[in-house]
């Protein structure tokens, strides 16, 4: 079967053993897969996208990604990602920020860190990713937003901490936002309910011959293409490679033994109350989670920004830390009688009706005069009063660690007869050191500039600060990128080192993960990969696919 129809197809309607044909076959319809397909719209070649789920959540399909968790406590895996068109963008929060330049560097205090290229090479693709994620202009540093009317950040020592910005995507649900474009595309065909079970390779394992697939309860079918891209997410990319072990015992492209290893997350500390900041008046407005802002250079593209604290590169280098971010969330104030009474007077002045217990209110105001004195300015200007108590939330990078991994279960199988995943997320002592260091560093910096004091939960200083973490459900690193085939799974173009026509898209290729949410980097890499595939497909077929 070749050629295109301009609607999504249901793989359950395919005949037994039928073979789909295309120039590019993308496996997985999440942020990476949809971005890739979208970038290939209108190109002179056919694209086939195979999505395991349908257009809505379907429990039997969702349960295909169940697995056993044997490492750091985690939610059930099937609750941490979504297996239908749009993938995990169907429940992501929208926080977006590119990785920092230092995240791409080889850092001598972070073993196995470093990307094969620097941030400058990815920056044009980050810029192209911005509108796809419905974000404002590519501007993430405080200095980039001068003239936009943002509140000033706190006056921390800029040699240690800098105030930076995230942008909030609406959040873009890729399956809904880009469905029409893909349906209308003459060269794209999307198959729903299509589960790829195996990557069939040539006898030498050096090229993909075709993909073996089936629907839940339906007949098998195949997909054959010149190029294949796995875009299944940070766990399932590795799982499919490991499952495809008919030719090579360790799975496809796993001569290095690194497929499934180096799993990384972003440990996050917030609801467990890791630390609290008290202050006579912290200038928290810059750090509010949702601030509407209009960049002077892009008045037609308003953005929603969120200020946070990030370490300088010098801080990370001098202290040997992994990257991190700190958010300051205003906590509910304890009611102060004098303030409440002053508010009663303000209401009375507006309505002309004096409160019945007038003298009690007068007494309260006099007793709390120091507190009340701070408020008239804020009432007059319409601004919120400064914060007195803020909850400290922070998240950290993880060190690349080969022992943190996913692998195949020997006894558990899913409804398609496929071996389930065993999820063994682990931390290193360096991860723990960074977890302990972040609130301590904040406490010192806050004290140093006289902004207040910080209380740190005792667990954060103990041997197991991870007892307070919550995962971010960012799954990264299991098919890591490295220029050296012995040390990575894919090369700088996201192509498998050992398989000439097989590529991997998504956060599984991240060799180091920084502190930023991964989605915008996933999308930027997918755009970059699409550009690369366009070039590759101009070459003669025999230079691409090897033996078939």
């Amino acid at each position: 079967m070749r050629g295109c129809a301009c609607v999504f197809a249901d793989a359950r309607d395919l005949e037994r053993n039928s073979e789909l044909r295309a120039d590019v076959c993308i496996v997985g319809g999440g942020a990476a897969g949809i971005t890739l397909a979208r970038e290939l719209i209108g190109q002179p070649f056919d694209v086939c996208l195979l999505e395991s789920g349908g257009l809505e959540l379907d429990v039997p399909t969702q349960m295909l990604c169940r697995g056993a968790s044997v490492g750091v406590p985690y939610l059930p895996l099937e609750a941490t990602r979504l297996r239908y068109f749009g993938g995990t963008t169907n429940h992501w929060g929208g926080a977006s920020r590119p990785l920092d330049a230092i995240d791409f560097e080889r850092r001598d205090w972070v073993p196995e860190s470093g990307w094969p290229f620097g941030r400058a090479q990815l920056e044009p693709y980050y810029r192209r990713a911005q509108p796809l994620l419905e974000l404002g202009p590519f501007a993430y540093e405080r200095e980039d937003w001068r003239g936009a009317g943002l509140a000033p950040p706190a006056d921390f020592d800029r040699r240690v901490l800098r105030s930076a910005l995230l942008q909030n995507s609406p959040p873009t649900r890729f399956g809904k936002v880009y469905r029409d474009a893909l349906e209308r595309a003459p060269n794209i065909r999307v198959y729903l309910h299509a589960n790829v079970l195996e990557i069939e390779t040539a006898p030498d394992g050096a090229s993909v011959r075709r993909l073996r697939a089936r629907t839940l309860g339906g007949p098998p079918f195949y997909a054959r293409a010149r190029l294949y891209v796995l875009a299944l997410g940070g766990i399932e990319n590795a799982r499919l490679l490991l499952l495809s072990d008919r030719v090579r015992p360790g799975g496809v492209g796993n001569g290095s033994g690194r497929v499934g290893r180096y799993f990384m997350e972003h440990p996050h500390f917030h609801h467990s109350k890791p630390a609290t900041l008290v202050s006579p008046g912290f200038p928290h407005h810059f750090y509010k989670v949702r601030t509407r802002a209009v960049h002077p250079a892009a008045p037609d593209r308003p953005a929603e920004v969120w200020g946070f604290l990030a370490p300088t590169a010098a801080t990370l280098r001098e202290r040997g830390l992994l990257n991190f971010g700190i958010a300051l969330v205003q906590a509910p104030e304890e009611p102060i009688a004098g303030i409440e009474s002053a508010r009663a007077f303000k209401r009375a002045a507006e309505t002309g009706a004096w409160p019945d217990d007038f003298w009690r209110h007068v007494g309260n105001v006099v007793a709390d005069l120091d507190e009340v004195a701070l408020y008239p300015y804020h009432w007059l200007t319409g601004r919120e009063p400064p914060a007195r108590r803020l909850d400290v939330a922070f998240w950290t990078e993880q060190r690349p660690n080969p022992d943190s991994r996913v692998y195949l279960s020997t006894d558990e199988r899913d409804a398609l007869g496929q071996r389930r995943i065993v999820f063994d997320w682990r931390l290193t002592e360096q991860d723990r050191e960074t977890m302990r260091a972040v609130p301590a560093l904040l406490a010192h910096e806050v004290g140093k500039v006289g902004l207040g004091r910080v209380r740190i939960a005792p667990e954060m200083a103990g041997p197991h600060p991870e007892s307070m973490l919550q995962p971010s459900f960012h799954h990264m690193g299991t098919t890591r990128m490295h220029a050296d085939p012995r040390r990575g799974v894919v090369d700088a173009n996201c192509r498998m080192h050992e398989v000439s026509n097989l590529y991997v898209a998504g956060s599984s290729v991240f060799p180091a993960v920084g502190q930023a949410n991964p989605t915008i980097t996933i999308v930027a890499l997918a755009i970059r990969l699409a550009d690369h595939l366009k070039q590759v497909l101009r070459r003669p077929p025999e230079t691409i696919e090897g033996k078939r």
């Binding site: 008290v278 120091d370 140093k448 006289g450 209380r455 740190i456 200083a461």
Partner: protein, 133 residues
């Protein structure tokens, strides 16, 4: 003994407030002739919370249970002691606040029930606790 978190939050906020609004704070002290430990204790807007922190600190730290000796440690050396003694209330508050910031910058901090405090303010709290007896 664990400090009541809510109370301490409020009281520490109050103490910090005093440091930042000299006009409001100045009324708290006008006598410079009193002994230095007593004048240092007057810096606290909420002495009760300072007493609680100070007791806790004295139980944890190797410090003399002697207010004069602690005041000398706060001053650092005889010259510093003389400077603190000569300062009026506003200047004393400014000197102490600056020393606290320097403590943080130099890593001279102590942790009392999770609160990261400058060594100077922990000692001031201890003086407050000793003054209470």
């Amino acid at each position: 003994m664990t400090l009541a978190r809510r109370t301490l939050l409020k009281r520490l906020a109050g103490a910090a407030l005093l440091c930042h609004v000299p006009g409001l704070a100045a009324r708290a002290e006008s006598v410079t002739a009193a002994p230095l430990p007593e004048r240092l204790v007057r810096l606290f807007a909420h002495r009760e919370s300072a007493v609680v922190v100070g007791r806790r600190y004295l139980a944890l730290a190797h410090e003399p249970a002697d207010a004069a000796a602690l005041a000398a440690r706060v001053a650092g050396n005889p010259r510093g002691y003389a400077r603190l003694c000569a300062a009026d209330a506003v200047a004393l508050r400014a000197l102490v606040a600056r020393q606290e910031r320097r403590d943080f910058a130099a890593g001279r901090t102590v942790t009392v029930d999770g609160w990261v405090l400058s060594l100077t303010e922990a000692r001031l709290c201890a003086i407050a606790a000793l003054a209470r007896g």
